[in-house]
Symmetry: C2
Subunit: 302 residues, 2 copies
């Protein structure tokens, strides 16, 4: 599981900071999460392969989280993309994008599917054989979802010595990898535990931006490996956080602690502060395992 | 008259090239012409003062000419802008922008005026005491206008020695600057030509992008000081130019020659070529005074 931060600053794009966008690579899938203005340039800068993105998740319809989407969709057209593209986001995203394509007399050569979200309950919005994605309803000034990306359990690892010892045919290996016991020709049952090792542990990643401090999201992110939680402000601006329905670094850390996550990743910083290190320092007073997101940073979680 | 090229490449924004946007500073007015994705960052990079932009001219609704507009409008909100903002562009621009502001639950604290264009004839769309702006209807795949920016005649310059010689009261200086003759107390009429010098010549700038080769625009840009004419392709790709309703460098030069402009400024380059110098070389085979536009270049035309 690898996460590339394309942008993690609040509000407007600037010369050196970018609005929210991230790429999560997990089990060979490449998911784009939010798509602020300039995201396609950030993808190029970080040498990520555009064409591998088939699923885009938009948290909410504030500009710093989606103004780059229409440009990316257009660029996919110019690059002659053929593969289906799926966009998940709040109701309205389809109307906004299609209106602009219509006025520019443009048609995508690929299938563009919109999965518009309206539910205030967590729901599964993507699932294949290896990964599952659920919404995390957040509380912000407009309808907003975070997203939980979960690896499905991996195959068990074959105990090569054991299968050789019992002379088990390769035709049964798949059964073993999926946890099955094996009955030998003489009727003896060999329990799976003897024929395989536990699989590598699965990872999961919770993206929570933008949101006010909200304990109701704790059950949804309980024990995750990595929690990205917005921290627009420091505690000294707690009044601004409350007014704008954002979180402070302390609040993000409190959620991380209560949800017992393994690591807390910070981002969505207001640009009013002299250094983003301040966010880390403040969060660490509550929760120890804090990672400081920054544009262009790559985190390998395996 | 000063022109800053924020971006002059066709199609998609890349790490080192930007889609179309220019800032024209003329008689203390700052006009933004087109606004591709990333324009607000380009404004910052080029240290141009956002707040001085009160008029934005959009040529057409292809993404590389306007996808940065909604972000700029949003940033003006965040910067707490109070001054009126005027946007000129094809019918549809208002619907596109307001739809996005509505979904983000945003309201501008300043007055945002849309001047939607539909006419296929050239028309005056802006005029104040110093500058006049007219549309230049262009032929492209969607409804498109270029824009002609014309300085109005400046005041004549006072001949200080002459007014002292005739002991003319300062109360009459304004009249002299506007070309009036002066009658002395003894009844003698002093002709203006004796009391003032010709004003500095006025400048004008024609922005023509995107367009196919089209001689009908010649009367509208006859004798202009600077003509920006798109040149997406070289003559070797003339078939592509024709198919996509763009121009080659040769065609741009031919228009410049037929319209007897003083200088031709090139831009809107396809990124397929190894060097933009090739556009200049090709254009110069037809027309001598060619300027090569490039992102971040500033041209002073006074």
């Amino acid at each position: 599981m690898r996460l590339t931060i394309l942008g993690c600053y609040a509000a407007t794009p600037r010369t050196i900071t970018n609005p929210t966008s991230q790429v999560l690579e997990i089990r060979n899938r490449m998911f784009l999460i939010d798509c602020g203005e300039g995201t396609q340039v950030q993808l190029r800068k970080n040498k990520l392969k555009f064409s591998k993105i088939n699923h885009i998740f938009i948290s909410h319809l504030h500009g710093d989280h989606f103004y780059g989407l229409v440009g990316l969709i257009s660029t996919f057209m110019l690059l002659n993309r053929q593969t289906d593209l799926h966009v998940y986001g709040p109701k309205g995203i389809k109307e906004i994008i299609l209106l602009q394509l219509r006025y520019s007399n443009s048609f995508t050569g690929y299938n563009l599917y919109f999965h518009e979200l309206e539910s205030k309950e967590s729901e599964v919005i993507f699932e294949d054989e290896k990964v599952i994605v659920k919404t995390i309803p957040l509380k912000h000034r407009v309808y907003t979802n975070g997203y939980l990306f979960q690896e499905k359990p991996k195959e068990r690892k074959l105990n090569v010595e054991a299968v050789e010892k019992y002379k088990i045919d390769t035709a049964y290996f798949r059964k073993i990898k999926y946890g099955g016991d094996i009955t030998l020709d003489n009727g003896t049952v060999i329990p799976n535990a003897e024929l395989s090792f536990d699989p590598e542990p699965t990872k999961n990643y919770a993206f929570c931006s933008d949101t006010m401090y909200d304990e109701t999201l704790i059950p949804l992110i309980q024990d995750v490996d990595v929690l990205y939680h917005e921290t627009t402000f420091l505690e000294s601006e707690a009044n601004k956080a409350e007014k704008t329905m954002h979180s402070t670094a302390k609040e993000a850390a409190r959620i991380a602690k209560l949800a017992n996550v393994k690591q807390l990743l910070l981002g969505h910083y207001s640009t009013r502060y002299s250094s983003i290190e301040l966010f880390k320092q403040e969060a660490e007073t509550i929760f120890p395992n804090v990672l400081l997101g920054d544009d262009g940073k790559v985190f390998d979680f395996d």
